[in-house]
């Protein structure tokens, strides 16, 4: 009987099957976690160190150019200079390109006395006189035929008489002309 009890007791404390394997796996897992902890600690320290090094390098590079602000100011000033000069050159008006085409459009028997030029509006008012209506008409068509004249209108026409005889015909033309007549081609300066 006593032997039976002892055998039963022995049976109760017997470890479950596979416990050993599970135990060993747990030890391995635990060691892995502890190892992982130190490994991550090491990686973190390393990453922190790299970050510090980069920060030091940034500070060093910033400090390595003490004249950086001066360089920036100089660059800014010159950039503005170029931009502003370009703005002005693009928008300014000159007279030189106007003369030659206009002179070539004045009729031999017409005389121009007044010339009002508004470069910004691209308008030109021409007042003068011709020998007769034919000369004024030819003057009108001579201007109209020119490429630089975009629009042309006759705004005044009157006769000049001496002893009832028409000696001249006065005229006023209003023209809308090409913008190029008031723009200087800066490449010409080279």
């Amino acid at each position: 009987m006593a032997i039976e009890v002892s055998q039963q007791k022995k049976k109760k404390v017997k470890a479950p099957e596979g416990l050993d394997l599970f135990f060993q796996a747990m030890i391995f897992l635990f060691v892995l976690v502890v190892g992982g902890y130190f490994f991550m600690l090491h990686l973190n320290t390393q990453a922190e160190e790299i970050g510090r090094e980069i920060e030091d390098e940034i500070a060093r590079r910033k400090a390595a150019v003490p004249e950086r602000e001066e360089m920036e100011d100089r660059a800014r000033y010159h950039r503005h200079l170029i931009e502003d000069f370009q703005d002005i050159i693009d928008a300014r008006y000159v007279m030189s390109p106007f003369f030659s085409p206009f002179e070539g459009s004045v009729h031999p028997s017409a005389e121009v006395f007044v010339l009002n030029i508004e470069p910004e509006e691209r308008t030109v008012r021409v007042s003068g006189k011709g020998e007769d209506f034919v000369a004024v008409g030819q003057q009108f068509y001579a201007l109209k035929a020119r490429e630089f004249v975009e629009e042309l209108s006759l705004s005044n026409l009157s006769t000049v008489r001496e002893d009832e005889e028409v000696v001249a015909v006065e005229f006023t033309f209003d023209m809308q002309v090409e913008e190029e007549l008031f723009v200087k081609d800066i490449s010409e300066d080279d």
Partner: protein, 186 residues
């Protein structure tokens, strides 16, 4: 029995350690690496920026002459006296006489495309001259070449005494000239 308890302890320890110690460390590491990437990018930007600044410096030095020309076209101050002296000299050189007070001017913000330029000012003035048509043409040709940029805003030629000289066939005569002009400065 002890083995079972130890197994449980190792299991719980591994699980807890993994979840509450190693994983947060891993997350910290990831954050640090991302921060480092940002810092690296900043460092690279600084490197490029400084290299570009040096390149700009080099180009400015290389084109110093051109910049001096532009700077004289756009002086820091309107410097109207020098401008008028120059125009007076040009008028004398081209036998043109001034027929009204010379030297009145106004300085206003430069208006371009209906909005005020943020830096440039416009010096506006007018001239009333008299002289030969050819000389007037040469006068314009001369002042358009000068470094100080000037813009012709309006011109009025008139001749009360006869042919004004426009056209190839008409003889030259005295021409009156009113001209509205602008120069520019900071």
């Amino acid at each position: 029995m002890i083995k079972i308890i130890l197994t449980v302890i190792f299991f719980v320890g591994s699980l807890g350690g993994g979840l509450y110690v190693v994983h947060p460390l891993y997350e910290d590491y990831q954050v640090r690496m991302e921060e480092n990437e940002v810092l690296k990018e900043e460092l690279e930007n600084i490197r490029v920026y400084i290299a570009e600044l040096r390149e700009i410096e080099r180009k400015i030095e290389e084109h110093e002459e051109e910049f001096e020309f532009i700077a004289s076209a756009l002086p820091e101050d309107h410097d109207a006296p020098t401008l008028f002296l120059y125009l007076q000299n040009q008028m004398d050189a081209h036998n043109l006489t001034s027929t009204s007070d010379f030297g009145d001017f106004s300085v206003d913000p430069y208006v371009i495309e209906e909005s005020e330029h943020e830096r440039v000012k416009e010096v506006s003035f007018s001239l009333a001259l008299e002289g030969d048509y050819e000389n007037i043409k040469n006068f314009f040709g001369e002042i358009e070449q000068v470094a100080r940029v000037m813009s012709i805003e309006g011109v009025n030629f008139s001749s009360s005494e006869g042919p004004a000289g426009f056209g190839e066939e008409t003889p030259a005569g005295a021409v009156g000239l009113n001209v509205e002009m602008s120069a520019f400065s900071y």
